[in-house]
């Protein structure tokens, strides 16, 4: 006998996994577009620490001279990315799932404890519901980034029609830079996310596919003790 604890609703799982290939296509086609004017770098004056992107990177990914292809993919899959994101956001709101994701008053302080714990500096975690404080901040951050991706993208796609949006974002060239920075942040999030999923282990990963975590039948039921019965505490996950 086993005990199963529901964790991720069906809608969240589908929207999450649909986003995975979608974001890959958007970033890939974005790279094809960016190559045609690859002006960004980290550095100052004439000093360049990191060029976006080195020639070897462009060559390895076969990016050069594919602007038209990149644009056609980007301006088609943008629809699915936007629609998927909007459905996800509406679902969070109407299912009240957002209460588990958006940070609360304690999140800032507690997120430090989570980070110290993850870095093996400190033992023990503050009590948590579905997501710990650091996860709440990271996942909410990535939702905000999705919105910014959409807004900065729209601003550079239709700068004359959406002149006001372009102006709010600091003008055409800034909006393009912001769109690029957001992409880099998305990629960094992806790396950390995958790493954390690997560390958290199979039970956690499986729950994003099946929806439930599996515990021994006689394990203590934290859910029974929480004040909010719809939000069981899951103690052994941390991704």
């Amino acid at each position: 006998m086993k005990k199963i604890v529901k964790k991720h609703p069906l809608a969240i799982r589908w929207l999450h996994w649909i986003n995975f290939p979608l974001l890959a296509i958007m970033i890939w086609s974005g790279l094809l577009i960016y190559w045609a004017n690859d002006v960004y770098k980290i550095g100052w004056g004439d000093k360049t620490i990191l060029k976006f992107f080195p020639d070897s990177f462009n060559k390895a990914l076969n990016l050069p001279f594919r602007l038209a292809e990149g644009m056609s993919l980007h301006f088609v899959f943008m629809w699915i990315f936007a629609i998927n994101g909007i459905i996800y956001f509406l679902y969070l709101l109407f299912s009240k799932e957002y209460k588990l994701i958006f940070p609360n008053k304690k999140s800032i302080r507690e997120s430090w404890l989570v980070i110290l714990h993850d870095l093996h500096i400190k033992k023990g975690l503050p009590p948590q519901k579905k997501y710990n404080a650091a996860q709440r901040i990271a996942y909410t951050g990535v939702i905000v980034m999705g919105f910014l991706m959409l807004l900065t993208g729209l601003a550079i796609y239709k700068p004359a029609q959406l002149y006001w949006l372009c102006a709010i974002l600091g003008g055409y060239e800034w909006a393009r830079a912001e769109h690029f920075i957001m992409t880099i942040l998305f990629f960094l999030f992806f790396l950390v996310h995958v790493l954390q999923v690997i560390i958290a282990g199979w039970n956690n990963f499986r729950s994003m596919v099946t929806g439930f975590e599996v515990l021994p039948a006689d394990s203590a039921t934290n859910a029974m003790e929480t004040d909010d019965a719809t939000t069981p505490e899951i103690t052994n996950t941390n991704n």
Partner: protein, 250 residues
């Protein structure tokens, strides 16, 4: 307790997990197969057909929800770049004879108007300083002057022509050509341009007359206009044939 958690048999867990993962792998397989299918579709003007259809849909979507009269942002003269970037020389043949140049307007009736640069310069002059945007992703604030296309069309009585859907522009050597929707052609910032930074257009900027159309990417701002014609069907377009969006509107 609601159904948040329940005690179940091992086989229940196994079956549920198996089913979920089968669906998961079907989803991944369908995604990969769709990607492969997409790339095997017939090509229409440099782009696989399904993507081309969505690009065309984007055009009608955005032209329907947006106004045709939103102005591109303008700047003071001091913001204009003294050295204007030149990007591409298609249509700029060496053997061009400026002395023989006249603008050809092919009217709906088939008649052709021949218009000299002096006649064009005698029409009301409009200046514009705006952020010229290249489809490659760079932009530059530049300063242009010429006659508004809408003023030009009025003066030469092109009302019937402007009621058609498109205008086609071709260089004298016929090497470069664009097609533009007439809603964008009569936009108040669209000009037939003969001056840059207060001086006649340089040769490599399309002397004696080029199109400046701030609501489109640079690819539509054809240099050195030879012939202008009108049609209800899309006139041929250089970059459209090479896989770019026909509309290319901003």
């Amino acid at each position: 307790m609601n159904n948040i958690e329940k005690v179940v048999s091992d086989s229940y867990v196994r079956n549920k997990t198996l089913l979920a993962f089968i669906l998961f792998f079907v989803f991944l397989a369908v995604s990969i197969a769709s990607w492969a299918w997409l790339h095997k579709q017939p090509v229409e003007a440099g782009v696989v057909k399904p993507l081309r259809s969505v690009l065309n849909f984007n055009e009608s979507f955005f032209t329907n929800i947006f106004s045709g009269n939103h102005l591109a942002k303008t700047f003071p003269v001091s913001a204009a770049a003294p050295r204007v970037r030149v990007n591409g020389d298609a249509g700029m043949s060496e053997d061009f004879d400026p002395a023989a140049w006249k603008l050809q307007i092919v009217k709906k009736t088939g008649d052709t108007l021949l218009i000299s640069i002096d006649e064009i310069k005698s029409l009301p002059k409009t200046e514009i300083i705006f952020d010229f945007k290249c489809i490659e992703g760079w932009s530059q604030v530049t300063h242009w002057a010429g006659v508004k296309f809408s003023d030009f069309a009025k003066h030469y009585n092109l009302t019937d022509e402007m009621n058609l859907k498109f205008t086609g522009l071709i260089t004298p050597d016929e090497e470069y050509y664009v097609g533009i929707d007439n809603k964008s052609m009569v936009h108040p910032q669209t000009i037939l341009c003969y001056e840059m930074n207060g001086a006649p257009l340089p040769m490599n900027q399309g002397f004696p007359l080029r199109l400046i159309i701030p609501v489109k990417y640079g690819i539509k701002n054809l240099k050195r206009i030879g012939t202008i014609s009108f049609s209800n069907n899309r006139p041929k377009d250089y970059w459209y044939e090479r896989g770019y969006d026909y509309y290319s509107g901003l």
